[in-house]
Amino acid sequence: MLLIQQVVNGLMLGSVYVTVAVAFTLTIGILNFLNFTIPTLFMLAAMMGWSFAAWGLPFGLTEPLAWPLALALGVAVAIAASLVVERFTFRYLRTKHGDSTEHAIPLVSSLGFLLVLENLVRIGYGSDAQRFPGPSADLTLSVGGLFFRIPQVISLVVVALIVLGLAWMMKSSRIGRGLRAIAENPDAAGILGVDTRRVVPVVFMLTGLLCGLAGSLFAVNYGEVSPQMGEDIGSKAIAGMVLGGLGSLWGAVAGGIVIGLIEMLTIHFFGADTVQATVWGALLLTLMIRPQGLFGHNAIGKGKL
């Protein structure tokens, strides 16, 4: 029973990873860009949500209404930050000779943003973890001896809706078709009438939105935020994305859940200290044996970097 409970917990944890992994996989799949600001945006949304709530923003609202609105503002900050990142990574990308390290410019810029944003938050709020004043995470639901925490169940539903919505958007909407055209061939997309300058920011808005939601859900579920909270989640989400296959939406979903399960089961059987080695070991093995992951497309991410 304890084991089944761990599996349930693993699924719950996995759903947070899924959201962040989807953000990673979108940017890689469409723009061939490993965006290292993603974990920072996740942290930024949660920290800003916390600080808005702590300042009593939005003004004058009482407890049950205050924190969801504060979190919504946090998400808005994450989206805004993501658009700033877009300005400095993709807008200014001018490859001159097409050699290997010049293609890494957006990646390197995103590492720069990771340092700036995380440390600014640290300067503003200190390095300590803060208690998030949301709903008590202890509201539990007991079904057949298994415990489900209600906020987590809600999170799971929200994540499922996000993923389904995104899948629909990519497949059926005009923007989705534009994005897929860019993923296929950026030059040809321009010729076909896709306005790259308007469509690319959409990827970054989605990235900010996904990370913001994931950060908010994390804050609500675990009741704690800190400037470091993105690092661990980001690593696990990257692992999930690679496992599922770079650029694959459903791969990121499956990969995120699998990583959540591996983590919980590793803790159950071997203890918390071994998680790092097993998760990353699984990732390294995937890269060596089957780099395209479970559902990935062979061509994505191979471009020179």
Binding site: T101, S109, G112, N119
Partner: protein, 308 residues
């Protein structure tokens, strides 16, 4: 020298050695985001040999270099089949696995770390940094260096020109891993303690940024990048508190203002990275920085003007 300056010179020398290790991989066009893993291998090999077997620093540091180099070569052969994002992730994952394994190893002290009884003076890292710089400058001036730079520019054509692309990549990566290991060994003895938490993803990121900011085109890059970002925070040590005080005062905050902490140096590093990528993505030092006069035959110069 005062204790303050010996500390700075030591860490600067170690960073230079470390940056040269990552540089060798980057010069072939491979972003190695697993630097901390290789440095940890060198540091722990040296620390363990010193702590358990009582080897002298000369031997432990040499052993750390070899261990990192051999493991680097072992991992390079499968990992360098990966390209682009996959390679970045592969090196990153490798460093995490190394850290994860050391964390769980009782022999290596786990989360507690290992003390390193033998201490080295600042002259040793400095000598090592000078030797590394000379070695890399020499290598980049050889035909091997030519091959390295060709592989960086266009691996398909390099291959058609007869360059053993895979061989060059593996050699550069493994030699770089050895240098990263050397920097780890130096670190262990210079700071008398190793702790796996110090060899984290951030460290891998910093050292890669040193190299890319300095510029990967010439062997000056890592030297300039590491020096700039080791010395810059020191230079700002007096400037930043004054700046903070001025800003706080401007906002009407009075009284005791605590000096800014470590975080500022990373904000500055990150902002510099972003600005560099916008304005000068090739790095601070490029090949055009040095117009080697000896390469242009003086007699030919007028002809060129005429041709234009």
């Amino acid at each position: 020298m005062s204790g303050y300056w010996t500390g700075i010179v030591t860490i600067l020398a170690i960073n230079v050695v470390f940056a040269y290790g990552i540089y060798l991989a980057v010069a072939t066009g491979q972003l190695n985001l697993g630097g901390a893993g290789f440095q940890a291998l060198g540091a722990y090999a040296a620390a363990w040999l010193c702590f358990e077997l009582d080897w002298s620093p000369a031997w432990t540091i040499a052993a750390g270099t070899v261990v990192a180099g051999v493991i680097g070569m072992g991992i390079a052969i499968p990992i360098l089949r990966l390209k682009g994002v996959y390679l970045v992730l592969g090196t990153f994952a490798f460093a995490e696995v190394v850290a994860g394994l050391i964390l769980n190893s009782e022999t290596l002290g786990g989360a507690m770390g290992l003390p390193v009884p033998a201490y080295i003076e600042w002259q040793v890292p400095v000598a090592a940094a000078v030797a590394c710089a000379l070695l890399v400058f020499y290598l980049m001036a050889t035909r091997f260096g030519l091959a390295v730079r060709s592989v960086h520019d266009d691996d398909v054509v390099a291959d058609l020109m007869g360059v053993n692309v895979r061989g060059v990549r593996v050699a550069a990566f493994a030699l770089g891993a050895a240098l990263a290991g050397l920097s780890g060994g130096l670190y262990a003895h210079a700071f008398s303690y190793v702790e796996i938490q110090g060899f984290n993803a951030s460290l891998s990121i910093y050292v890669l940024l040193y190299v890319l900011l300095g510029g990967a085109q010439t062997a000056w890059g890592p030297l300039v990048g590491a020096a700039f970002f080791t010395l810059l925070p020191e230079a700002m040590r007096s400037f930043l508190p004054a700046a903070k005080e001025a800003i706080w005062t401007a906002f009407g905050v009075t009284g005791d203002i605590s000096p800014p902490d470590e975080s500022w140096r990373f904000v500055v590093l990150g902002a510099a990275v972003i600005a560099m990528m916008v304005f000068r993505p090739e790095g601070l030092v490029t090949r055009d920085t040095f117009a080697f006069p000896r390469r242009r035959s003086p007699a030919a110069a007028p002809t060129r003007e005429a041709a234009e």
